[in-house]
Symmetry: C2
Subunit: 206 residues, 2 copies
Amino acid sequence: MNLNEKGLLIVLSGPSGTGKGTVVNEILARSDQYSLSVSDTTRPPRPNEIDGIDYNFVSPDKFKELIENGELLEYTQYDGNYYGTPLKNIVNHLDDGINVILEIEVEGALNVKRLFPEAVLIFLIPPDCDTLESRLRMRGTNSEESIEMRLERAKEELNFYDRYDYVVINDDGLVDEAALAVISIAESEKHKTSFNKHIPEEFFTD
Amino acid sequence: MNLNEKGLLIVLSGPSGTGKGTVVNEILARSDQYSLSVSDTTRPPRPNEIDGIDYNFVSPDKFKELIENGELLEYTQYDGNYYGTPLKNIVNHLDDGINVILEIEVEGALNVKRLFPEAVLIFLIPPDCDTLESRLRMRGTNSEESIEMRLERAKEELNFYDRYDYVVINDDGLVDEAALAVISIAESEKHKTSFNKHIPEEFFTD
């Protein structure tokens, strides 16, 4: 008798500037049991962002086509651009026991939870609001107006905090701790009785 | 801004013969963040059991007194004996950030969950029914009748499986894995948003 060996759908979101990408890279570096689902977006690439790695950068017309063909698990609009989660690969990875990480905004996260109630929603957050602001400034690609907008948006996103299952604080210089916390949460979720409904029956037949 | 530093109330139960005590000892050996709540019982000590360590062995009259004085969080009767959870120390430990482990039978566990909905219920189980039976026989202190009764009882306890939050399999020779799973579950539970309701407000004021 063993625990359910399927992968988990892990949704990681949190305010823009929290460092979600850095935490995800740390998780991927530490374990081959995780895969990042690359989102489709109509947003232009930032410096250093690579097509197919950070996002699948697509035109608005192509995005519309993806929606119409039912190729997106969910999609949302944010800051004038579209972001979507491609269905392809997710189910296959889960069946192969690979945990799939979705790095998506709050609205998309709640949509995923509606479609996949077993999805694990993790809210990643900087240690305080000042840290968030300074991270947004350091990024150097945001206008003053965009920074203000993102801080305002962070406030709104925190209204949905209790819709998330877990919170992980991404403190400066402690990205390894944040990554280990996510890994620990996944390890723990694999022990949920709701994820292992086969146990009582198999206990007597194995 | 930090995570809630209070301790967790961890309820560990599972069929008699699962090896709950061995797993608890392994947890206590690995971390000083855990404390075992010693139960009161009217059952006579088994060989090697020490009063105040394995149980507080008390007379039926004394047990009745504990009930009347409200000194028990919960109590239950099993196999002709009484078992109870003393309230003393639990709340203090939790306030000090120490995780308190209760090693109690299913009925008591569900009573605790009613009284403390935040309690984390973990069902510990051998890898299969044959393993359970051979462990009960190896113990050498159980009559054939008592073994039959305990196996029957295990079947009944598994009816309450889905009332537990987590399941941990205690496989032969892998007690360290079972202990690490419990520790991982506790680590993860400390990240629950429901355990950290202070975060959204503190994010803007810290």
